[in-house]
């Protein structure tokens, strides 16, 4: 029997990231996929990053993950979103070339000698072992298994009212794997999602739509990416019309949602065209972003009109959209319905409770989006390797990262619709920014050995530069009169302040600071971003630091694994039931369990203090 440290089942965003992360820590990894053609496939739109999602990409990058650098290598259009709304809520996004993306992902996996890609169908878990699997090419043993089955668990594809089995157009569902997961007896639910029709770009009237160029100076997904000379492509923008909506309304009963085929809810945040028309009936149009799929690929992805209307109706409604009147559909839009596992069945390490060594990551846990999947993949990959090596798990908390926020939300609150990241999910948003992702996460990555030597060297240099820059802005100072002489209006109170203090003033941004103190000109831009933003948010960050210290004090009070709440004095039966159902792993997590009273928490606190 082949044996490895870690088996990763599935080669999508979660699977590739999990395999690569486990391998970087030194584990020998089997990446089991049904076809090498499936590695690095972008099932939905050809874009990586965005609001909230861009934070996840930067954090994955800070742990030396793949998503950002592969995305940059394939990018044909960059845009920093929320540019005007402040550094805490900005998110980088890249439109990517599908083929280049797949090729770059394959290359990244191939470059990792500790990953063996095994093409096989998973038949089930091997009898007698919790971390070995049977496949169509034979059994594989390992110390830990990561399952990243995406939408392939009991997946059904819906074109109008026509239903076929599958997880993505052209791919069969993972039937045997689904049965094996079902055999574990984990709580499950059903979600739906969908995609728009893909268009032949040569049949779009580009003169009839607005063109949106990318940023002239790109903000890359990865901080490792060097500027490139590659020409960038624009996206198009057009809009649905009242005539489009009429057609949708006329054919609603031919869709799976309104015809009654769907049981599960879809993402409110990425609604299908039919949902938009029904829910926002008063609107006369909805934006459509025409996203190019590649440099040598004429296919265009019309983002915003995800639909499961019958293919003939899809063709008809295109004729009502400016610029798309004569557009030819290359592949019809469709909806997918699939099973997910209730993520409350997982520990914050993404390991299945009561099933040591089995990890789940990605859309199988009820999330939506490449970035959310990859983020779980990297955490599951690191922890699977650590489990196989007999090490304790790495838990990212809500104050470290969006990754921590996401996993805490998933494993403690569960999901009621496909989970997508938003900046508003992070209560410490001002502290968790794209500019400081490396400072927050790379030290953790270094401690668990997931950072390669190149990034490790870069990070050491960055840390030195950051320390120096912080010392410099603290040491330099100026009087209000000096600022006034430089033409900057500030209150003339006669008090000299440090450069750091002046940077908190709305009138003093980094370019102004470099005028006042030319010594600052030599500061690298990425370092300047962190220093200027920390100063700008200074008051808020110091407040949040106190809040975070309190939060962490609660989080570090660990509750024993398999704690019996009914043996704790002072807990009512109702409280025992709530706590037992939620299985909080720390006192802080117990605080967030709905309905637990202060009295119960103080009893729990007394118990924890006595146990340590």
């Amino acid at each position: 029997m082949l044996t490895f440290d870690v088996i990763v089942i599935g080669g999508g965003h979660a699977g590739c990231e999990a395999a690569a992360a486990a391998a970087r820590t030194g584990a020998r990894v089997a990446l089991v996929t049904r076809s090498t053609d499936d590695l690095g496939v972008l099932s939905c739109n050809p874009a990586i990053g965005g609001l909230g999602k861009g934070h996840l990409v930067r954090e994955i990058d800070a742990l030396d993950g793949l998503l950002g650098r592969v995305g940059d290598a394939a990018a044909l259009h960059f845009r920093l979103l929320n540019r005007s709304k402040g550094p805490a809520v900005q998110g980088p996004r890249a439109q990517v070339d599908r083929k280049r993306y797949r090729a770059a992902m394959l290359e990244a996996i191939a470059a990792e000698p500790r990953i063996a890609v095994i093409v096989a169908d998973v038949v089930g878990f091997a009898a007698g072992s919790k971390t070995a699997i049977d496949t169509s090419t034979g059994p594989i043993g390992a110390g830990a298994v990561v399952v990243t089955a995406g939408t392939f668990l009991a997946g059904t594809l819906h074109h109008g009212r026509t239903i076929t089995a599958g997880g993505r157009a052209g791919s069969a569902p993972a039937g045997a794997l689904a049965r094996a997961i079902a055999g574990l007896g984990l709580p499950r639910g059903r979600f739906k999602t969908g995609t728009p029709p893909r268009l032949d770009g040569r049949t779009i009237d580009w003169a009839g739509v607005d063109l949106q160029p990318g940023d002239a100076v790109p903000t890359y997904l990865s901080d490792a990416t060097l500027p490139s000379e590659r020409a960038m492509l624009p996206c198009g923008v057009t809009r649905t019309t009242p005539a489009t909506h009429r057609i949708v309304r006329d054919h609603l009963d031919e869709t799976p949602t309104y015809g009654g085929d769907f049981a599960g809810p879809g993402p409110r945040y990425c609604p299908s065209l039919e949902d938009k028309v029904v829910r926002f009936g008063d609107r006369d149009g909805h934006n459509i972003f025409l996203e190019p799929e590649g440099y040598d690929d004429a296919t265009v992805y019309p983002n915003g009109i995800s639909t499961a209307l019958p293919p003939s109706v899809q063709a008809e409604l295109l004729t009502t959209i400016p610029g798309l009147e004569r557009a030819v559909i290359r592949q019809s839009g469709y909806a997918v319905e699939y099973d997910y596992v209730d993520p409350r069945a997982l520990t914050p390490a993404l390991m299945v409770r009561g099933r040591p060594g089995l990890f789940l990551a990605g859309q199988i846990n009820g999330t939506t989006g490449y970035e959310e999947a990859a983020g779980q993949g990297i955490v599951a990959g690191i922890n699977a390797a650590r489990f196989a090596a007999g090490q304790s798990p790495v838990i990212l908390d809500r104050a470290t990262s969006y990754l921590g926020v996401m996993i805490d939300d998933l494993t403690h609150l569960g999901v009621s619709e496909p989970y997508r990241m938003f900046t508003s999910r992070a209560e410490y948003r001002l502290s968790l920014r794209i500019d400081n992702a490396a400072d927050r996460l790379t030290p953790i990555g270094l401690a668990c050995g997931v950072i390669g030597s190149a990034r490790s060297a870069r990070f050491a240099a960055r840390t030195a530069a950051l320390t120096e820059a912080r010392a410099r802005v603290a040491a330099l100072s100026a009087t209000p009169a000096a600022l006034a002489r430089a033409g900057i209006e500030v209150n003339q109170d006669g008090v000299a302040r440090s450069a750091e203090a002046w940077l908190a003033h709305p009138a003093v941004d980094w370019p102004v600071a470099t005028r006042l103190w030319p010594e600052l000109c030599a500061t690298p831009p990425d370092i300047a971003d962190v220093v200027a933003t920390d100063a700008h948010y200074g008051l808020y960050l110091s407040r949040q630091a106190i809040e975070i210290a309190n939060f962490r004090a609660d989080e570090t009070l660990a509750l024993a694994d398999g704690i019996c709440f009914d043996t704790i004095a002072g807990l009512s039966p109702e409280m025992v039931e709530r706590l037992t159902a939620a299985q909080p792993t720390t006192f802080g997590a117990a605080v967030r369990v709905a309905g637990v009273t202060p009295g119960a928490l103080s009893a729990l606190l007394a118990h924890v203090r006595s146990a340590t």
């Binding site: 934006n287 401690a447 668990c448 407040r543 630091a545 962490r552 009893a603």
Partner: protein
Amino acid sequence: MAPGDLQRDANQSRLTPTIFALATGAPPTAIAIVRISGPATLALLTRLTGRALPPPRRLSRRTLRDPTTDDAIDTALVAVFPAPASVTGDDVAELHLHGGLAVVAAALAMLRRAGAIPAAAGAFTRRAFDNGKLDLGQVEALADLIAAETDGQRRAALGRTGTELAHHVDRWRTVLTDIRADIEATLDFAEDDDVAARPFDVADERLCALAGELRTIRAQTERGGRLRDGVTVAIVGPVNAGKSTLLNALARRDVALVSPLPGTTRDAIEVRVDLGGVLVTIVDTAGVRDTSDVLEVAGIRRGQLRAEQADIVVALGSTAFPNAIHVVSKSDRTSEGAGWRGGALHLSATTGDGIDLLESHLAARVSELTALGEPAFIAAQWQQAALDGAIASIETAQHISVAALVAEELRRTSLELERLIGRVSSATLLDHVFARFCIGK
């Protein structure tokens, strides 16, 4: 490994605030003891006394001065209890003051300005707990007690401020959630026109209404707070009526001037004076006139808000404020001189003629207001702190234009409202656990 460990150890001492509270009953009392605890305690005491620290655990006589103005506050007995041999395990100091209203109010205000934080309910006990000063038996006893009493206490706390408060708070939270959702939508759906996110406006009427209601409740429930914060007098009136001159006349004449604060906004100038033993903040608001200048309109609007919040309004040359003290200035230009005529006080701020009449009238109104102060000054303090925090965060939100920071301020408002009704949230958990203890214990 636990990723938080590294940062936490380095940050913990820096992040522990220094707290203070009045440990004795509501003033006036013969002696008032203010207790201070935290890492900055000893440095703070050195600054306030201008002298070296007294020997540990011995009462020593010191003159306390406000470091920002160098004004003497009181001659007091002070004692220091260096860590860890103190009640909380932190550095602790006690100020034994003369227990008059003005002295206590001034001392508390001074500590706040010096960077110490008014202790939340149970904060001293929490420190002792964190520093291992309570043994497990004590902790368990507390837990039992709290388990039995938390809900009753919450009801009692709500009862004290009116039975409708819980209902009000629920409504406020709903309104606030709506507003926050609008702001968050503008941040999280930048480009998606399918979210009906309307751009957030700092003059959002829902937010103004919410702030107004919170202020009303505060005024109704916490008259005792006037002893701590003092009484606010707003001078309103048209441009060039002589408001600033009047303010200066009041401030200059007063030898017990506590602290002249340079204008915190461009719209209002404040001075603090001692009037009949009570701290009085006099605010000079922006003049009222018809104008289309957007900034000026905003300034006038804020001036009106300030006047609405003020305990007493002095209206100069204007009859637009029905409950105000009406003043007609520039009496030096008429033959009749200073005095009350036709319901208005005629005076000259330039010559000072009649200023004493205004002052004595103000002093009478002030003492009327503070005489209504509730004896439950201390007991209501944690709720007052929550309300103050909620109001302050909304007011700050109304003055900033960066949506991400507005969102942060309003997140804070939500936390404060949760605190107000005794609801538990993660960051405030232990504070709630210990909230039953009297402040300063």
